[in-house]
Symmetry: C2
Subunit: 307 residues, 2 copies
Amino acid sequence: MLIYIAGAGAMGCRFGYQLLKNGQDVILLDNWDAHIAAIQSRGLEITGDKTDTVHIPIMHPTEATQKADLIILFTKAMQLPTMLQEIKQIIGPRTKVLCLLNGLGHEDVIRQYVPLKDILMGVTIWTAGLEGPGKAILAGTGTINLQSIDPNGKGDAEQIVTILNGAGLNAIYDDDVLPNIWRKACVNGTMNPTCALLECNIGQFFATDEAPIMVKNIIHEFVMVGEAKGIALDEDEITKYVMDTSVKAAHHYPSMYQDLVQNHRPTEINYINGAVARMGKQLNIATPYCQMITDLVLAKQQILGIK
Amino acid sequence: MLIYIAGAGAMGCRFGYQLLKNGQDVILLDNWDAHIAAIQSRGLEITGDKTDTVHIPIMHPTEATQKADLIILFTKAMQLPTMLQEIKQIIGPRTKVLCLLNGLGHEDVIRQYVPLKDILMGVTIWTAGLEGPGKAILAGTGTINLQSIDPNGKGDAEQIVTILNGAGLNAIYDDDVLPNIWRKACVNGTMNPTCALLECNIGQFFATDEAPIMVKNIIHEFVMVGEAKGIALDEDEITKYVMDTSVKAAHHYPSMYQDLVQNHRPTEINYINGAVARMGKQLNIATPYCQMITDLVLAKQQILGIK
């Protein structure tokens, strides 16, 4: 089975590494030249829970030619359309495409390149870090929930679940994956823009008197919009999940903080709170909290000269 | 006429200086020891449009004993209750109290210490700076609009207008001062928390793609709440006024930026957007944009350890 990892950041490296070690044919695709050069010359170096170095093929997306059996999408949200455009040539009639990106609404983008019957949507709570080109830090454990958008694709999807589990990735076929995707988006939508704007870690934000009401207001908008789209969401359960996550991840600086504050890179705000605000507008549901925090993050990007 | 300036920051120094030069009996009241010591030993030093040094009495509020003819309130909003408590002894049956603080809702606080018939509410667009204890920078020009809350107080208030004009302060009696107070609050409510959170000047904020919609959303809430309180506000005119001000003040960092980012001091957010959110709650008017930006500024204060 030929598996491409489209987007070989920290998470792409984790998945590529674990699948390769399990004997799968894996090719990483990325556009970061220094990362490609490092992995091609020294191999992919793993630290964290274990230390290892593996030789794993990596190339620019446009260099890939062989049709894929499986493509795992792991780009940043805003890179997705370009990535899909660049890997069109490896999407064949038997290619399955599994989306594990953070955020909401990616299926609408993927549909433009992949028949509905071949799209799998998923969500993962695995984490990973990159400490430089070719160097991944893998620690802790996680899970994957995934589902075929087309119910007839369940059988094929279950084979992919088996392959992921062979690689120790704790996947399950989830007949109702969308609520879990929205649930994770609520975690990102409450912690990421707030910590990025306030320049603090998750514990510092949640320790403020204002955090609980801000979190509640943001989650409420996600739930209203999600339910209008037919996704059953339990507001109380999600709030508890977010609060529990905030305790576990208290010392963590969310990815949006890293993007905006540390690395002055574009954030994924348009695919998290911004996506809810956009859908809210279409559905005539007020989403002022999501809109305001999206606008503030976008304004901050511009003030910092981030393009 | 004995005039106390209660709060001898930059603006208090400007008013005290100009009234003193015009021959009025002026006493500055403040709690900043270094500022008091500097003015008592070296005098109040003026730079900017002109250079001057004047000897002007200054003391702690609790040290003032002689009943006032006029008290001009010029504290930071959150210092107002303490100041009123500390100057109770100089408020007599013939004392007029003129409030020129930024923000909304101060009349409700002043009423607890001063009979309604003696309260004048005002708004000024004069500016001033302090470059250290005892050193005021006075540049540019401005105006004052003021009104007696009790219409029967108009005659006395007009005498105060005459005194202020004698000192070159360009005052007018305004039979409808509240809309002007709210108009200025809209300027503060759109520029201050945004520039403070985004750590930028007014021009940088207004140059972002998101500024116009954020400004519009915030002004709309001020207008809805103000109108529910019986204050006639012209949303289009206020929006134009805010946009015009943003052009004139493009290079300026608003006071809330100075407080939060530069000096790590408490901001006036609870008396600007926070006041609108509180009033909105009482009136059952949704004010999510004011609420969210207030919560973000308050959270930032806590994260910075500002008390």
